[in-house]
Symmetry: C2
């Protein structure tokens, strides 16, 4: 029976029953962390060969003969460009290989635009007064933290099952010159798990923003992170944008943080050749170059893009059962009661749970007190403010399956309790 | 006989003789690069063990049990802090471990101050109108490129044998609130090779700038780069500054770029605990953390600071003969003729040659046409403009000794030719 169909007495009885389960659970004294999208140790173990890919016996020269131990090469060694341009689906001349963090590349791109402007002729964002940014949400808290840090006003954009509300985005960017950017995780979105439809990608590519320095931050973090062969496909936004002369409007980001090592991977940025040339000019005052040995290590470990895809299949075999565990728990325990809704993602790192309105904080609190830390309720919205207090991000990868089973059980108990309390007006 | 004591006929004869030597040299068709302070291959070879310091059999946890393969730890693993705080002579709580480039940390520190201000209460530099910067010169071209890139007006400060002209610096910072910083390479300075005297360090530490957000960028790039046991010593500026409550005025930078690998080392920033706390807060929106495996690799390779110092002794045994080669050539060929002057450094990466006024560009041109590329004349001054056209930076480390011998020979021939031309009014 669905919770909303219960009489008050039935609800009270239900709540009492669930409370007992909750207290029993709490007594176990668990201490589990499901707060961040972190790889588990067994995932990291699959990449240990990376550490042997170069050693003291290796030739440390790249394919052009450049000694990767020394200074030089601002934008990455050519074999790394060849490999990673396939990962983010851009040309070899449309990529820069950075350090270990794509988040840092995004921050840095905003910082450069803020200080120097989006190109030689543009007024720096920092000299233009109040700035605004479009934030499809629920979204990625670290994206929102960057724009908040820069003092940029964030505007919530609803996320649908095929991507952000494009009617709203088209209207806003056409009207308001102070809107300078939009955050997107277009594939297996963080946290909703959906992939933008071809139509949504085409509408992004064809945007006619009032601000000539409006930019799309296309964080393709999960482009190769399929959970099985039944995968999503994402249209190539840079190629689409070229059809409208909009290619300079797009910055694409990716990394191997969840392919090799989260703490020691390689991050990349894709963009039009014009944007790449401009960023290289700015990078030239910033650094002599990023870690080329780590680039070489990655190329020699994966060998080619097929090797990287094989690594992702290995990882999927470890991750997919964890998604199953959580989804089965939700399906079994919550679906029959009509509590909340969720998308079953085909890749990525998260399950996004929409609780009944006004219940997310309470569920997170109950989980916390029961021994499981979730991503804070509200974190998936700009300023940490979920207007409906409904969204929770579940990150299934980090705990071992047996712990995840317990955590999912506690999550469902907490959701039931919070939903019952809500209906009872407590 | 000194060139300036020659009659015109003697000079003409001298010039003809040197011209023949020059043409004979040119005919050899050399192609040598002495433009940048790059380590030679044999130096890099001494650090190859770094690549075996962690491998697929290693435990990748740091001393606190954190898995360095995963996300986490914003400011560096604790054993890296322990090691590198000794290198740059700060406390364990006064250091941040960054990526592979200290130049990037300097750029980023300026960018943060420009966007967010030097602390929570400060007006961002970027909101303060025209900014100025003090540039002791000859100095490091990449420093000047950063401040030029930010549109900051650079003011030349003469370099003396004990450091920059402190009378001028004290006067300027006391008067002008738009002066926000000063570049310093306090030990084995780039390019002059001198080390700041205790008095100069004390005067820096005691500065009373009109701008409360004036900052000293103390690029201690060569702090462990002694050429022999007969080394310089640098007073600890952070400790000195604490005596005046000026500790927040100092940022210290260093790296292992010329200790391990120039392309894949570890960079660090030292500062007061208050500054470190503030930067960590800003870094928290920028990245999840830098490459911890590379930090671990360095700590395990060097083991401790004594191990790092031992590595520097090995490197000195390779580099010192190269400095000797160049200095001997200058001493033998130019000193008797009274052409130019230079300092004999006890460490670092450069020999700074002061040609007769108006001769530097000509010498660089002659060297270039003769087959040896030097750092461009003027590069050691802001905007690439050496007001006296006299300074040339010689980087002896990169070529093998036999090539260096040839390069030094060509340099001396070119200097003789340019000096003779100058005296003849050509």
């Amino acid at each position: 029976m669905r919770l909303c169909e219960m009489t008050k007495d039935e609800l009270m009885a239900f709540k009492n029953e669930v409370s007992k389960e909750y207290e029993a659970f709490k007594a176990r004294g668990l201490n589990l962390d499901m707060s961040r999208g972190k790889p588990a140790a067994d995932q990291l173990d699959t990449a240990m060969g990376l550490l042997d890919a170069v050693n003291s016996e290796s030739c440390l020269c790249d394919s052009t003969g450049t000694d990767c131990r020394n200074y030089g090469i601002l934008d990455g060694i050519s074999e790394a460009k060849k490999l990673f341009c396939q990962m983010i689906d851009v040309g070899e001349n449309e990529i820069i290989i950075g350090g270990n963090s794509s988040l840092n590349l995004m921050y840095d791109t905003i910082a450069k635009n803020y200080i120097f402007g989006v190109n030689e002729n543009a007024t720096p964002w920092g000299k233009q007064g109040n700035l605004k940014w479009l934030c499809p949400c629920p979204g990625y808290d670290r994206h929102f933290a960057i724009t908040e840090g820069f003092g940029i006003e964030m505007i919530n954009i609803p996320m649908n099952s095929d991507g952000p509300d494009m009617d709203m985005i088209e209207k806003l960017v056409a009207e308001d010159e102070s809107i300078k950017g939009v955050w997107c995780v277009p594939m297996y979105s963080n946290p909703t798990g959906i992939t933008f439809s071809d139509e949504v990608v085409k509408r992004f590519a064809a945007l006619k923003p009032k601000a000539s320095d409006f930019r799309i931050f296309w964080d393709n973090a999960y482009c190769v992170h399929h959970l099985s062969k039944d995968r999503d496909y994402l249209l190539n936004i840079l190629e689409e944008a070229k059809k409208y002369g909009n290619e300079d409007m797009i910055y694409i980001f990716g990394s191997t943080s969840k392919v090799s090592f989260a703490g020691a991977g390689v991050a990349v940025m894709g963009a039009s050749e014009k944007n790449i040339a401009y960023y290289k000019k700015l990078m030239n005052i910033q650094t002599i170059g990023f870690d080329k040995i780590n680039m070489l290590r990655h190329v020699r470990f994966f060998k080619d893009f097929a090797g990287l895809e094989a690594q992702m299949e290995t990882l999927a075999s470890l991750i997919a059962p964890k998604f199953e565990t959580v989804l089965n728990a939700l399906e079994t325990n919550l679906a029959p009661l009509g509590i909340g809704d969720w998308h079953k993602p085909k890749g990525g790192y998260f399950i996004s749970f929409n609780a009944p309105n006004g219940c997310a904080k309470r569920i997170a609190q109950l989980c916390k007190e029961g021994g499981v830390t979730l991503t804070g309720a509200g974190a998936t919205y700009p300023y940490g403010k979920d207007p409906d207090d409904k969204n929770l991000r579940i990150a299934p990868t980090y705990p071992p399956v047996e712990e995840l089973n317990l955590a999912a059980e506690l999550f469902c108990i907490s959701a039931k309790l919070a939903a019952a309390e809500k209906l009872l007006g407590e």
